[in-house]
């Protein structure tokens, strides 16, 4: 019983891990993209259309990521190419993605697919408790954690990661040193879009194997909050996503068991917890702002 509940927590966290990790990379490069929700929806509709049309779930995952990256590309075109205000452009991207995914997805409504299969890792999955929990998940759950680990390694251990962080922290200096600020940011935004697309794809491929307009229901915004929650450090994204998922599932389980706390209050809990943690960590500036990209949201003009 507990095992099943924890598994539900893991699965409900996967889209958040994808989307928040992607946004984290974009933000570390100095770009605030508020269009996560729109990119997730485009990824979701792209993945479902592919799965429904071809029956190939692996292709569907790839198309989901590509659709997200393409939508991120639209953001990059305006925010980087034409140096528009990032906040306004991001909000517009959410509205654009919501609308376009609804339009593209209209003929797909009412159809169902078979979701992703489980991948059971031999031997390890026979372990009591953790076996079922950690070693017989679906492929995208493993992919989420692998990509998260990759991002953590990239940002901390590689030269490319260093350049990306430099661009986010001080784009003028990075430019003076000869790095192409816009190219780095473009790649970061595209990666963020791909990750949001993968997060979106997880919904129709795994959680609820159908397409429905606006099915992300605000998860893109939670991913954005998680990046701040994680104080721009990859592994804390995982912690944040699991806490958020954990409280969500706990409040549902509490209701099923007949706890007499008002359910409206319980529904608020995940958000309250997020705010509470934000307040606590922001009291410690060193902790919360040590990795804050100083150029976040600022427009870069070369040659100024």
């Amino acid at each position: 019983m507990l095992e099943q509940l924890l598994l539900t927590v893991l699965m409900t966290s996967v889209p958040l891990i994808f989307a928040a990790t992607g946004e984290l990379v974009a933000e570390r490069s100095g770009v605030l993209n508020l269009g996560v929700e729109g990119m997730m929806l485009m990824g979701a509709v792209g993945a479902f259309a592919t799965a429904f049309g071809t029956g190939n779930l692996w292709l569907a995952i790839i198309v989901g990521g590509l659709a997200g990256a393409l939508t991120g590309g639209v953001f990059a075109l305006f925010a980087l190419g034409f140096a528009t205000n990032q906040v306004a452009t991001g909000l517009a991207l959410t509205i654009f993605g919501t609308g376009l995914s609804g339009l593209v997805g209209a003929p797909l409504v009412g159809h169902a697919i078979d979701g992703l299969p489980q991948i059971t890792i031999p031997v390890l999955s026979n372990l009591p408790f953790v076996g079922a929990l950690l070693f017989s998940l679906d492929p995208m759950a493993y992919l989420a954690v692998a990509l998260l680990a990759g991002v953590a390694w990239f940002l901390k251990r590689t030269r490319g990661g260093l350049v990306l962080r430099a661009v986010g922290d001080n784009h003028d200096s990075a430019h003076a040193l000869g790095y192409s600020v816009l190219r780095v940011r473009l790649l970061a935004v595209l990666f963020g879009g791909m990750m949001a697309g993968l997060g979106g794809a997880y919904l129709p491929l795994m959680l609820t194997p159908h397409w429905a307009e606006g099915m992300t229901a605000g998860r893109g915004w939670i991913a954005l909050a998680l990046v701040v929650f994680a104080s721009w450090l990859p592994w804390r994204v995982l912690v944040g996503a699991l806490i958020f998922g954990g409280i969500t599932i706990m409040q549902l389980a509490g209701q099923a068991r007949g706890w007499t706390v008002p359910s409206q209050f319980l529904s608020m809990l995940p958000y309250l917890a997020t705010i509470a943690v934000l307040v606590v960590i922001s009291r410690n500036r060193e902790f919360s702002l040590a990795n804050f990209p100083s150029c976040l949201g600022r427009v870069f003009h070369a040659g100024k």
Binding site: Q4, P15, V109, G110, H210, A217, T248, Q255, S263
Partner: protein, 364 residues
């Protein structure tokens, strides 16, 4: 005198012109939708009704709809805009549009407003509803016979009278065949959030439920049931395509006859807001007996369960009052004793408890 004649003639021409216009121009009808027709639940059912209206009246009417309209003050703007655009009858299709509809109805006395599924009315605003709880009683009977763990999971949206009626009717049906079964309720606090609905369904299953019921709008719960190998009931429309092995049956909301009757009455001038039957303050509240609520075929269940379901449905369409004594609330207080029964007004005003067999307390 000459002027007067001229004026009369002009007036006559005007009337003729208007009559001509009435024949030529279709009457405009507006619909306000909570989500989009693609939800495959509540709004989808309304969309089916709207399309049937177009089919039935042909070029006599012209319909428009606005989708994804949030409940509450925001909807006032949308309803007012539809009235301004010359719609002669406006259907507002969710509980939360009640006060906004009332407000706009006062501003446009010549427009007819039909609100689903609330309880406030005015001179040009009527209320329509379907007795959804009748289908839920039949679901309860099936759930009570099918459950092996004696645990049934229920997903609820918001604690409004309609949803409470549904939970209690479900529990009464379930307990009529299986006094040991219990139903636990998870309030999702949303009509439509597929992932959360799926999460809540998984939690119910993890807690041991083997039958699931829902008063939320997406097919996510049934898909989760299908995957986990348990059973459930669809909402508002047939959801068999999403869960061919898990769906026991769906209660389908059939708004078409209601919409057509309302529009017909408006066109021939006989439309009124009417006094409701019984004590319920509204003019239409029909269910299984009038095909406003239609049950899809009973599937994925043994023949004796299907027979019991059919018997229960027949009993209800034959006029059986589901809320007849004796029954208690889930704290053990006697609500109705043998021989007593609720009238419609009670269902809207007095049902602020769960009946025996439901776990927990109504939130708020």
């Amino acid at each position: 005198m000459k002027h007067l004649l001229k004026a009369a003639a002009a007036g006559l021409v005007g009337v003729v012109a208007m009559a001509g216009a009435a024949i030529a121009d279709p009457v405009k009808i507006g619909f306000v939708y909570l989500t989009n027709p693609g939800d495959h639940g509540w709004t989808y059912a309304h969309e089916v009704g709207r399309l049937d209206v177009e089919k039935h009246f042909g070029s006599k009417v012209e319909t428009t709809y606005v989708e994804n309209v949030p409940e509450g003050p925001d909807s006032t703007r949308v309803i007012r805009e539809l009235a301004r655009q010359g719609n002669k009858m406006i259907f507002t299709t969710s509980f939360g549009y009640m006060d906004p509809t009332l407000k706009v109805a006062k501003e446009f006395p010549d427009v007819k407003f039909v609100h689903l599924t609330g309880y406030k009315r005015s001179g040009n605003m009527s209320t329509g509803n379907i007795r959804f709880y009748e289908g839920r009683y039949v679901q309860g009977v099936v759930a009570g016979m099918m459950t092996k763990s004696n645990k049934v999971g229920y997903l609820a949206s918001f604690p409004i009278p309609e949803v409470i009626q549904g939970i209690n009717a479900f529990a009464l049906g379930m307990r009529s065949v299986n006094p040991d079964a219990t139903v636990s309720v998870i309030w999702v606090n949303s009509w439509y959030d597929p992932v959360k609905e799926s999460d809540a369904a998984k939690v119910h299953i993890a807690e041991g439920a083997d039958i699931l019921a829902q008063h939320t709008d997406s097919p996510a719960m049934l898909q989760t049931a299908e995957k986990a190998g348990v059973y459930g009931f669809g909402q508002s429309s047939d959801m068999k395509a999403f869960a061919p092995k898990a769906q026991l049956f769906s209660s389908v909301n059939n708004w078409s006859p209601y919409y057509i009757a309302q529009i017909e009455a408006m066109l021939d001038g006989s439309w009124t807001t009417g006094e409701g039957p019984d004590h319920w303050p509204g003019n239409t509240w029909l269910g299984l007996s009038d095909d406003y609520l239609v049950l899809t075929p009973f599937e994925n269940m043994p023949a004796n369960v299907a027979a019991a379901a059919k018997a229960a449905a027949d009993k209800v369409s034959g006029g059986y009052n589901i809320f007849s004594g004796p029954f208690k609330d889930n704290a053990g207080n006697v609500i109705l004793s043998d021989g007593e029964s609720y009238h419609d007004g009670n269902l809207w005003n007095d049902m602020n408890y769960y009946v025996e067999g439901v776990i927990g307390k109504i939130p708020g």
